[in-house]
């Protein structure tokens, strides 16, 4: 792997991780709200 390719690989991995984090946070919020709706 050349330094440029490694750079591209790291950028893509970071993008995947950020996307996954956003999805996880969104689901945490959704489950929290669903719980309250279900109890109400």
């Amino acid at each position: 792997m050349t330094p440029e390719e490694e750079e591209a690989f790291k950028r893509a991995r970071k993008g995947r991780n950020v996307a996954l984090a956003l999805v996880l946070v969104a689901f945490v919020v959704l489950f929290y709200v669903i719980t309250f709706v279900k109890m109400g």
């Binding site: 792997m1 390719e5 591209a8 690989f9 950028r11 893509a12 991995r13 993008g15 995947r16 950020v18 996307a19 996954l20 959704l30 709200v33 669903i34 709706v37 279900k38």
Partner: protein
Amino acid sequence: MTAAPATPTPLEWRDFYALTKPRVMSLVVFTGLCGLLAAPGTIHPVIGFTAVLCIALGAGGSGALNQWWEADLDAGMKRTAKRPLPSGKMDRSNARDFGIALSVFSVLLMGLAVNWLAGAVLALSILYYAVVYTIWLKPRTPQNIVIGGAAGAFPPLIGWIAVTNQITLMPILLFTIIFVWTPPHFWALALFVKTDYAKVGIPMMPVVKGEAETRRQILIYSVVLLAVSVVPWAIGGTSWVYGLAALALSVAFLLIALPVGLRQSVEGDKMKPEKRLFGYSVLYLFALFAALVVDAVLRNLGAIG
């Protein structure tokens, strides 16, 4: 197939997003939402949102499983060769695991947050699309589009059940409408887009049965669609608002399908009637389901009987 690059291009989140077939998703989300909004009874907005989200996630999961199974076919067709799997960018097992994860998650969430009948029908729709259609029947029969149409017909049924928690005649009629709409919609496209399905051994109607038979079938389905689309009104499931809209939209559908059904293409044909029918068919489905929702809202407001 193009050779995979020496060092594979790094996987981005967009590659996973592409696996879910986002363009198919818009119609799935719209019809699912319409089923949910047209159903009698009330649903908490958050639960309703969750139901539509689950329908979308389930559709995304089936899309990923479809691409996992058809990676070799996709590699042989120009339209699909650039997808993440056939281009060699993504490993096949990645797509399979992503598809299974999305599918299982969507069904569990639907069951836990909405109701288990909706969850069960969602599971059925995913299995139907991924196994019955993609793996079993698509490569085996020129009726594959008819069979695949049933997969696309599930969303409004699931949306409706999310509210009512029971399967009644009305949501089954919504299912039937999309089921009957799909063949003329897709075959109109198949007539003017030169696809290479034949090259990869998928028996599409125009290739196997010929153009004349395909045109005849488009016409038959258009007549059946006219009949089916007004049944919700005829049985008293909707008011005249939906009924007249369905009648006008379906008569127009038939009139636009007539020239397609009665002609034969010639050398260098521009295929204008076929393109017009395909374009109208998309508009038709959006307008029909919008009319259904408008009808339900007006009835709930007591504006009409």
